[in-house]
């Protein structure tokens, strides 16, 4: 056994270390946070070392998991997401001492999803990811949070049932559980079609594609802010990764059946998601719908079904995640003691804290896709993918969605620059949150100004050379 799964094992150890910290030092919860962060950092470093090591791809556990550039990039993304979540919720007593452990457990699920190459790992990953998130969603200690947890739980169980049944049918249709063997095995087509449909539903449910999205806004709104940021970024990355691997590795020969349907879903999601974002007053809910719409963008990369698509998807997940982290970090600071931030709470933010406003501006402009932010480059890459796939419909859907979404993203900014009434209440900056927001904003701008290194990385990581 090489160290190919080192990042994952590190996280497992991290879970235990965190729990030990919780048990040993009951009043010093910060130690648990540090332990978790250390695990994340070590895992991240290990991931980077593995990426630069060219001994990939590796297949382990009877082809159950594949460690390749793709999985490592996904590792990096979800590590970023979890680090962001940890720092945003850094040592906040509202989330309790177990928060870091749960974050790490969910992180493990996400990383597993990035590696998954058979149904077992896929299912395990989904559940490893979901179970901690059910808890985290419900852990806010107020009614909305419990409601969010309950909704997430019930729908999650429901969708997992659908996913499982679909996997079972696929198993029956092919006789194998390994993605990479699906293409080679003699498929019983109708069974496989039904199985594929159910499986895709189970997976896009996690991604938040319309019409399987309805849990997203409620759960995002109800959950505590760091958890929401984690779900918005991490879950999306993991679900997109596993959907992509499942479809690209398992069904790249049968592209004709699944691709158009996903394309329609992507367009529907992009347009309707942005449309719904337009009507929102609550910032978490706004970002939830924005997350739905962005899931649609991600799905464009998948349904383009070419190398550019995979690469663009990875790139886009990064820029989206950075923007979301920045936005959530800012909102956490603005929210202070409140559960969420509404449009009205932003009024006069420019006077209360010009820098926070500037950071929020960058994040929102990135989500809106304005150049010199990463969001633009990501959308640009996605457009390339769609057009290389000769799917102008996807490209049009993407830009139409972006047009509709614009107003949703810039209205908070206008509120922020509007003069508020009454005294100017300054905002305190927790250091951890400041670290998140500054790194995320710098990253967003960096990706917009000089994306070449990251483009290089994703191009080398998603070199699926059986695709055109």
């Amino acid at each position: 056994m090489s160290g190919a799964l080192g990042p994952e094992y590190t996280i497992v150890l991290g879970v235990f270390a965190t729990m030990i910290m919780v048990m040993l030092a009951k009043n010093r919860t910060i130690l648990a946070y540090w332990a978790a962060l250390a695990a994340v950092v070590v895992s991240g470093v290990w991931t980077i070392i593995l990426w630069s090591d060219r001994a990939l791809p590796l297949s382990l556990y009877a082809q159950g998991v594949t460690v390749d550039g793709f999985s490592l990039v996904i590792n990096g993304l979800v590590l970023l997401a979890s680090a962001g979540a940890l720092l945003i919720g850094w040592n906040d007593e509202r989330y309790g001492a177990d928060f870091p452990a749960l974050v790490l457990l969910a992180l493990l699920g996400m990383m597993v999803l990035g590696l998954a190459n058979n149904f077992l790992v896929l299912f395990l990953g989904i559940e490893l990811l979901s179970l901690p998130l059910y808890i985290l969603a419900a852990s806010g200690g107020y009614a909305e949070s419990r409601e969010a947890g309950l909704k997430y739980l019930l729908l999650g169980a429901f969708s997992s049932g659908i996913l499982l049944f679909g996997l079972a049918l696929l198993y029956g249709a092919s006789g194998t559980m390994v993605f990479t063997q699906l293409g080679n095995s003699p498929l019983i087509l109708p069974l496989a079609g039904a199985g594929l449909a159910l499986t895709v539903v189970g997976l896009v449910f996690k991604l938040g594609i319309i019409p399987f999205h309805m849990w997203v806004p409620d759960v995002y709104e109800g959950s505590p802010l760091p958890v929401t940021s984690y779900m918005a970024f991490g879950t999306k990355v993991a679900a997109a990764a596993v959907l992509l691997r499942f479809l690209f590795f398992g069904f790249s020969l049968a592209v004709g059946w699944w691709e158009p349907a996903l394309g329609y879903l992507a367009v529907l999601t992009m347009v309707a998601g942005n449309l719904l974002a337009l009507a929102q007053k609550d910032m978490k809910r706004l970002l939830a719908y924005s997350g739905i719409a962005n899931a649609g963008y991600v799905l464009v990369g998948i349904s383009a079904h070419n190398q550019s698509g995979a690469r663009a998807m990875l790139f886009y997940l990064l820029v989206y995640g950075l923007a979301v982290l920045a936005a959530f970090a800012v909102f956490t600071m603005v929210a202070g003691d409140r559960k969420s931030v509404s449009l009205n709470d932003l009024t006069g933010l420019a006077r209360r804290s010009p820098w926070l406003t500037a950071f929020l501006t960058v994040a929102m402009l990135s989500l809106a896709g304005i150049p010199l932010t990463g969001g633009f480059v990501g959308k640009f890459y996605l457009l390339q993918a769609a057009l290389y796939a000769n799917e102008p419909g996807l490209a049009i859907g993407l830009v139409v969605g972006a047009m509709i979404g614009l107003a949703a993203y810039v209205r908070p900014l206008q509120r922020a620059f509007q003069a508020g009434d009454g005294a100017v209440v300054p905002i305190r900056w927790p250091i951890a949150g400041a670290v998140v927001v500054i790194i995320a904003v710098l990253g967003t701008i960096g990706l917009g100004v000089y994306p070449a290194p990251i483009v290089h990385i994703v191009n080398h990581s998603a070199a699926f050379d059986w695709l055109h």
Partner: protein
Amino acid sequence: MIAFVILAILALGGGVGVVVARQPVHSALFLIMNILALAIFYILLSAEFLAAAQVIVYAGAIMVLFLFVVTLLTAGKDDAEPQESLQGQRLTAGILAVLAGGGLAVLGVLFPSRSVPFGLPPNFGNLHGMGLNLWNQDFVYLAAVALMLLTAAIGVLVLNRPPREGPKPRVKEGDS
């Protein structure tokens, strides 16, 4: 075949019972019936270990937990299900379920999987065989399940910890 029909009736009856029972306790009992019918199916499908696990884990542990919670939450309360309030929910649900379930059932019957003609390998599905799998190549899955159970343990702790003493301001806001 007769065994299949009887068991199928039991399983379906249990399933339908879960859905139509007026009281949660009855639903739980119907589900146990369903689970036990499936356990017998597992035996017939050469999965003795799973049958045991089904009985022990599902019927034994999970459903007992369910019953416990049902009684806890409904004790001394009117637990009759209120009227359906969402318009068309039942009808649509029925139609969709018939479409999906019927369609899948038809598929399953019309397109059988490619059965392997020769006999079962030794130790197929029994304790030994499963043990060989789960403690060798598939150990990692078992470990993952263990982590999930750990998660569940943490979850129960987190979710039912005593409420904090009023919201304590995390951030001191300036006097306004």
